[in-house]
Amino acid sequence: MPDATGLELLASDLRKRDDIGAAAVLATLHFRGRGTLEVAPGVIRAALGALRARGYSFLASVHGVDYYPEEPRLGVHYELLDMSRVDRVTVKLRVSLDAPEVDSVTPDGQDGKGWPTAENQEREIYDMFGVIFRGHPDLRRILMPEDYEGHPQRRDFPVGGEPVIFTYNEAASEGVGTVSGGAPGEGAR
């Protein structure tokens, strides 16, 4: 883990780059011995590329977070690892629910390098949180069924309450699954 000074140096390096800029590195956080850089969503590819040049060449994990009720609500975390110095740094970004769009880091960029490991993980974040990754080669649901509606890992998504589609329940939940019935999901609870 970079120490607090190392993290600031890393942040100032990113701020100096033309493709990132001073305004795009929003915050640094050193917490429990772990360093986190928060960047603007627009520069994520440039930021990860710059960190790769600094040795953080292994993308260990990409995951989503819902910061409900804070705004901007959705977050995406990128856990980077430098294997030769055994050093980790987290890059995170936040997007609002109105425009949940981020550039995908999966495909190869201008430097000819992408992060192929992010493919399935970005699909999972899209599936669970509804963050749309621009330029992702195959952005489909991965864990939930293809015709599923909603993004279940969001904090305001209720647990349970889904209709169970068995013929046994049809009599008890009148109208579900019939043409004349209400919207799917109504009535079963």
Partner: protein
């Protein structure tokens, strides 16, 4: 009829038959094969859409999600200590590892110190679990390659490990033994001796497995030189663990960034050379020996002292105190009803699981329930390497590769 020299219709057709291939275009025809989701060789409920050209695999598209149970969502609805049994059920062969990744993250958020004895007890159980996981992998993989008897031998040794787990926690699987701040209970009398007996017997048995498999012409032909992948491509795909080590990169978090007192133990990291299926097989079998060595050392050096932190805000007070101490009663009540509150923050805690880096991300909003629990499951990430490994090889080699990949669908789908 034959006397007239006239050829019958049947004979004329027969004459026209040649034994050469009937047109080359049929070989170029692509066939999409649906493989799974219920198939013994997919190691769980995994579906593969395989495009074949003759017998050669041209593309593989894994379809997952069949056993998605929303564990990460469930975890957000439970107090921190009640999340442990839930996350244990993700990768169902590596339950101690799931628990370790999770409690490690919560301990980092709480800044709780774990006593030395608890760390050693954790290491003992983690390494026993690694052996058990590798045994299941070895048995089922050999089954895929047509070797049936080895499965029974592997399960025989796994029984010994499960007996040890039952001794220490009362459960054979999903033991809930690791707690935030330590372990739930000290090991019972006789555990150390039984574990030592296991450590004595296991290397001999592993020698026997190698005598069965490693000298078997059929196994070697199926594994040697099939579906190799170099370390650089693997790193790009995020692959860690035995698969990466088989390609010659000795990355192991137990050595690189020791946690839970791994720095105290003397063990080697087995690595392969070319990263083919044989190396993947050999690395995992060699890891069994190393894990036995770690368990032996941990049993030998097991320090005296508490097995869980003395912080009463986090760990339950001993049972006998409840009868005499009002404070203990209050702490007990508070912990059992509400649980403990965790300072707000975000922590990503990676450990070395049997299949690679197993990271747990926990976000706390200051309440008694986690705001987000995410498991970076190694099988989920490693599965992406399957198409890179097996494309262009024969379909039989794809089966072997999938077996050597060791995917656990409970961990992939969570």
């Amino acid at each position: 009829m034959s006397a007239t020299g006239q050829m019958s219709e049947y004979r004329r057709q027969e004459e026209s038959i040649t034994l050469s291939a009937v047109g080359d275009d049929t070989h170029d025809e692509l066939l999409t094969l649906n493989f799974g989701p219920h198939h013994p060789a997919t190691h769980g409920v995994l579906r593969l859409l395989v495009t074949l050209q003759g017998e050669v695999v041209r593309s593989i598209k894994p379809v997952i999600g069949y056993v998605h149970t929303g564990i990460e969502k469930t975890a957000e609805d439970k107090a921190y200590w009640k999340v442990i049994p839930v996350v244990e059920r993700m990768d169902y062969l590596a339950y101690y590892f799931n628990a370790m990744a999770y409690v490690g993250a919560v301990e980092a958020l709480l800044e709780v110190d774990v006593p030395k004895r608890a760390r050693y007890l954790r290491v003992i159980h983690l390494e026993l679990n690694r052996i058990a996981s590798h045994l299941i992998w070895l048995g089922t993989s050999a089954l895929d390659l047509g070797a049936v008897s080895i499965f029974l031998y592997c399960l025989r040794e796994r029984e010994l490990i499960l007996d040890l787990f039952e001794m220490s926690s009362g459960q054979r699987m999903h033991t809930r033994y690791f707690q935030v701040g330590g372990v739930i209970e000290d090991i019972p009398v006789g555990f150390v001796q039984k574990a030592r007996e296991f450590c004595k017997v296991m290397p001999e048995r592993a020698d026997q497995y190698r005598a069965i498999l490693d000298a078997n012409q059929l196994i070697l032909q199926r594994l040697r030189g099939t579906c190799p992948l170099d370390a650089e491509t693997l790193l790009g795909l995020g692959v860690t663990g035995p698969l990466l080590r088989a390609a010659g990169n000795p990355w192991d978090l137990r050595k690189a960034a020791p946690y839970s007192s791994y720095e105290d133990f003397d063990f080697k990291i087995p690595v392969g050379t070319v990263g083919d299926n044989y190396d993947r097989f050999a690395v995992r079998v060699a890891e069994i020996y190393e894990s036995v060595k770690i368990v032996e050392q941990a049993l030998e050096g097991l320090p005296e002292g508490p097995y869980i932190t003395g912080d009463r805000k986090v760990a339950l007070p001993p049972r006998h105190e409840l009868a005499t101490s009002m404070e203990a009663l209050i702490h007990h009540f508070k912990l059992v009803t509400e649980g403990f509150r965790v300072p707000p923050g975000e922590v990503y805690n990676p450990i070395e699981g049997p299949r690679g880096e197993l990271g747990c991300f926990v976000r706390s909003d200051g309440s008694a329930k986690p705001a987000r629990v995410h498991m970076r499951d190694s099988s989920f990430v490693n599965l992406q390497a399957l198409s890179k490994m097996a494309e262009g090889s024969y379909i039989a080699d794809m089966i072997a590769t999938l077996a050597m990949l060791d995917p656990i669908l409970g961990g992939i789908d969570r």
